[in-house]
Symmetry: C2
Subunit: 230 residues, 2 copies
Amino acid sequence: MTELIQKPLRKGEQTRAAILEVALSIASREGLEGLTIGVLADRMAMSKSGVFAHFGSREDLQSEVLRLYHQHFEQDVFYPSLREPRGLPRLESLFARWVARVSMEIASGCIYISGAVEYDDRPGAIREQLVEMVRLWQLALQRAATQSIQEGQLPPDTDADQLVFEMYGLVLALHHDARFIKRPGSVERAQAGFARLMNSLHHAASSSASTAASKEPAKKHTKPNTKPLA
Amino acid sequence: MTELIQKPLRKGEQTRAAILEVALSIASREGLEGLTIGVLADRMAMSKSGVFAHFGSREDLQSEVLRLYHQHFEQDVFYPSLREPRGLPRLESLFARWVARVSMEIASGCIYISGAVEYDDRPGAIREQLVEMVRLWQLALQRAATQSIQEGQLPPDTDADQLVFEMYGLVLALHHDARFIKRPGSVERAQAGFARLMNSLHHAASSSASTAASKEPAKKHTKPNTKPLA
């Protein structure tokens, strides 16, 4: 593969994209810190300098891998959910597609979840980039929850941040039990937890409404859209 | 410290215990895989062979550290909760003390939680030991949940495994948001999530009871015991 060293721009973007996809699969399995230029060069049957011709440093490579992961996540989870109506249908779609994606990743691991542990004590640019992406994702969930309240599909006193915290917990528990404990049925538990969470918001609202006898009972919650992704 | 090499049994158990506590603090921060004989020897200002005199191999050391962590966990969370009455008070104590412990560990990290990610793809004796400990802990929670049902403090149709899954999710979300995102208020969110979870079980039971009009409404849930540990 010395021709890649001599002519790094031949096949240019195509080669770079192929290297990145392999790098992503290494990082999913070994963690971002397990991704080194040497491991990647081995897997690509390239020289280290061949890989360096495409990525200036290991940190650049890790950063590009994170960006690629984020793109995949957006394509699988975020953009398809934007096609759902604003409010609860979108929130339910975000959760259902997130669960579907994490359950597809059980064999490899979710970089957002594994990365959170890998980088919780490791300051630097990669940690900052990862925190930023996870924050963006939590913000997308929070926005959909807030819109569900605005649309009257969730009770007005719903704490959107608390809702996102608990949704995140369900997906973390799915990742933990399915990937570490290897316990079957974890996907169904995450889905059941979300259904219970949604229902409990309405129950809390309707019992405070009946106590105060001052509000309309909250609209009945529709069944969460937990159908598998096409 | 060459005297330790020549006379490895002088001060014997005391030195070994001191090394283990330092090893635990390294493993909490760097992960069990970050714990090497070399790093430990540096921190103890001992020679590597001095450390080897106490632990035959790196895996033995990791295994002992895990056992020590398990002991600390039992002392902080499990045994004090056994002093609470069987059933809901015990379940609530297990959760409250677990949350208190994880919130004390925010600066260092919980080995059960970090280890789950570190070892999810790394087969071997340490993974097996860690899975066994986490399973034991989940079983203790499950037993307390089942006893709460038997005592009539949780509705008879409560799914104890689902309850444990969701409790685990709340603590994972606490660890994630407090340690990785560094978001304030995560302890309170975990506690609020548990209170809502408990209430929703009773609501689910009372609404199915009022639908069927065949059962007494479930007992009112008492406020979870989320007072800080003494």
